[in-house]
Symmetry: C2
Subunit: 108 residues, 2 copies
């Protein structure tokens, strides 16, 4: 998904998820696809952008409100994925909940 | 830099920079290294995390205040880099200025 073409109207919220994976897939790819489908139907979800290289993965998701973020965190299927994440997929991760106050973009 | 080991005390600020590159290096690597050295000396700079794959690059930098972000944007050497970015290195980019309200992390 190319979020650079999409801009939203601040204020809205961003969740910055930064992770280092364990080695091997361990079912991660399949679950990631399922979560992507599921989150896209979540009320208040605006969009998501991801990049991963050998060092680090960064996923930023965008939301209308803190309540929408909280509801997604409590989603039952997502809770199972979160648990598997701790057990299998991530060496470490950090989550930052942010209010987007301003944005601008450039396009050739 | 592995920011997952470092946490800061909210509230602080994050700048989410998401970009698609043009093809070829065009002097980007050298300038990126110079900017990394320079930003690390900038007052109010807390840290930076980056990931780039074939689709997208995401860089998140962390700052003590909006004023510190504004001062870095106005830095003379950084302004030259910003100009080169538009002329040479980026097909498109978006910049989001955010207040980090909450964070948590996990480590195996």
């Amino acid at each position: 998904m190319n979020g650079n073409k999409r801009t939203f109207q601040p204020p809205y919220y961003a969740v910055i998820f930064i992770s280092q994976r364990t080695t091997g897939d361990r079912g991660y790819g399949k679950m990631a696809e399922a979560m992507e489908r599921l989150v896209s139907k979540q009320p208040g979800f605006l969009g998501v952008e991801s990049a991963r290289d050998n060092e680090l993965g960064i996923t930023v998701s965008y939301w209308e409100s803190l309540e929408a973020i909280s509801n997604w965190k409590k989603n039952e299927a997502h809770k199972i994925a979160q648990e598997k994440g701790k057990q299998e997929w991530y060496q470490n991760y950090s989550v930052r909940i942010c209010k987007v106050e301003r944005e601008y973009s450039f396009e050739l």
